[in-house]
Symmetry: C2
């Protein structure tokens, strides 16, 4: 009898505990989950997706295990101008590589990089960049790559704000990540950038663990050090080019499910948004438009904004967004604050 | 004052609720988490890892976000004899493929498959099997592949027990998966089998979601149907061969971290166990030895067991396990029960 009483009390206490948790949850939900967003269609669309998919009474309810959201990184979660952060990381490595292999000093694209001519460097082709990536960061153990990236991120500073690159994340987007996760969404980065690069800081900066980072990846090769200890070497072989249609292929490979929501900012995200939108049930597709030269950058060339080789947002993409109900986020109008340190 | 009282009560109730949860957790922990295991070094090793890595006072404590365990599937989580389940799935598809392309009927290896000669089929080479896989399940949308696998699994029966293949999972290993997850471990399948095949049933059968299945994968290609709807096609191109060293490469690609524990049963798992063991801190490496012909199968050729082309467990692997402290699980001695329906 005593035991039954004890267990009964235990159950009552557990139930009361659950009730108080529910009350606390309700209180948290009553706060604005997106305080850096101005009221408008963009904010409304995000809140509407979360409400519809997490309310069990909603016809659009999505069970927690199917709640996935995919985020492009460069230009969507953090600044990508005047140059992708990872490209700068590789360029900064060139002098050390040339010191080890002096014959490269007279060979393009290394010659241009060593010249220090920013204008010329900004015009390096994708093939040039691939050559640089191969020369700087393949043929080395994956641990060495991670250590080099970590060290570089600690000291490197963005040319405009003179801050660590990892401080150039967009506060409103960090709020979206947090808001989605608080409602059972698994948040993934799906980036054209290097998977191993982003994994170095994704947990700390975005709260996204390494296994939820899908990115461009080189192959690796298993081997042994002189001490017999096994390690993986980064091979000069592209395994996954996580751009354009490659983003969808990467999502299938690494997640195996269609996201409920996808966030991007350029033509490189078009297929990811299209694929996300082709699923049944409630979906949210959003594109960040960089239209705030004062607080960040302004580039398109959609809506008369200056053209850009990086993060191109074409009028055609803008038109497609309109047709398909993808929501364009105006940095200027939708974001109260862009950076946490503003 | 009323409000403070209310909040105070809320906090007390929440605390009591947490206490009762703790008591319930303690009660659950007091139960044997591995009831299908006999007492012995194997069971002891599993419990020791969990205790050491989850006790905050332990010098071997591992924070939850770093708790990963990798499981081979064929021969480790379910039966792999007399033929890998997925191979049977592909072979069963051959008649339909030949009906669509009658010229294949006279071409090997299709001719052998159509002959129905089990002995001959059992001796098909890896290249033959790749030809069959390519002919049966590439050039089709990924959704069609998943639908075909799902349908086949519903009706196909294992030749020995006449049960659905998904019932041929090892109960003691299901308990290990459950036990690890209950202690904050993320459980992954790392299989030489096809990633998209295993993903069809991994949630239901193992409690492992699709995104935690690492396996052999073909490339996919993004395209559009006649209705303009985008879809992915399975390409006849191997992207990831998740066997031997490929398992480590797959782990790096898909997880990006070294597991704390790895479970396998054959030479194909050697590198995965070696890589897991090369990490610092507490690690657990285990190999299932199939030494129970009566209840399941007996094959090695380690320890005088019959040789096998599938799931080979060589004397060299056995010796390496001994040297490196990998724990060999004897199905005969360590497992009270092998299947849930026994």
């Amino acid at each position: 009898m005593l035991r039954r009483n004890f267990l009964g009390k235990l159950v009552i206490i557990a139930l009361l505990g659950s009730c108080s948790n529910l009350l606390l949850t309700a209180w948290v939900q009553a706060q604005d989950p997106l305080p850096s967003w101005n009221e408008g269609p963009a904010k409304k669309a995000i809140v509407a997706l979360v409400r519809a998919t997490t309310d069990k009474a909603s016809p659009k309810f999505v069970p927690p295990e199917k709640r996935f959201a995919a985020f492009d990184q460069d230009g969507t979660l953090w600044v990508e101008q005047p140059m992708y952060t990872q490209v700068k990381f590789c360029l900064d490595r060139v002098p050390a590589v040339v010191q080890a292999k002096p014959e490269l000093a007279q060979v393009e694209p290394f010659k241009t990089v060593l010249s220090g001519n920013r204008e010329a460097m900004a015009h390096l082709s994708a093939q040039d960049l691939e050559k640089i990536l191969t020369a700087t960061f393949t043929g080395i153990p994956v641990e060495d790559f991670s250590a080099a990236a970590k060290k570089w991120l600690e000291t490197a500073r963005d040319p405009r704000w003179q801050r660590p690159y990892t401080e150039l994340t967009y506060l409103p987007m960090l709020e979206v990540l947090q808001y989605l996760r608080a409602h059972g969404y698994k948040t993934y980065i799906v980036t054209g950038g290097g998977q191993d690069f982003v994994r170095v800081y994704s947990s700390r900066v975005y709260g996204i663990p390494p296994e939820q980072v899908v990115g461009t990846a080189v192959g690796t090769k298993y081997g042994y050090g002189p001490d017999g200890k096994p390690f993986l070497t980064r091979e000069p072989k592209l395994l996954l080019n996580d751009n354009f249609a490659g983003k969808v292929e990467g999502i299938h490979l690494m997640i195996g499910r269609r996201p409920q929501a996808a966030f991007g900012n350029s033509t490189g995200d078009r297929e990811m948004l299209e694929y996300t939108g082709a699923g049944s049930g409630p979906r949210l597709m959003m594109l960040v438009l960089h239209d705030d030269a004062r607080r960040e950058y302004a580039y398109g060339p959609a809506r008369g904004l200056p053209d850009s080789r990086i993060g191109t947002f074409t009028p055609a993409l803008d038109a497609e967004a309109k047709t398909k109900g993808w929501v364009v986020i105006s940095m200027k109008k939708d974001w109260k604050k862009i950076f946490a340190w503003e």
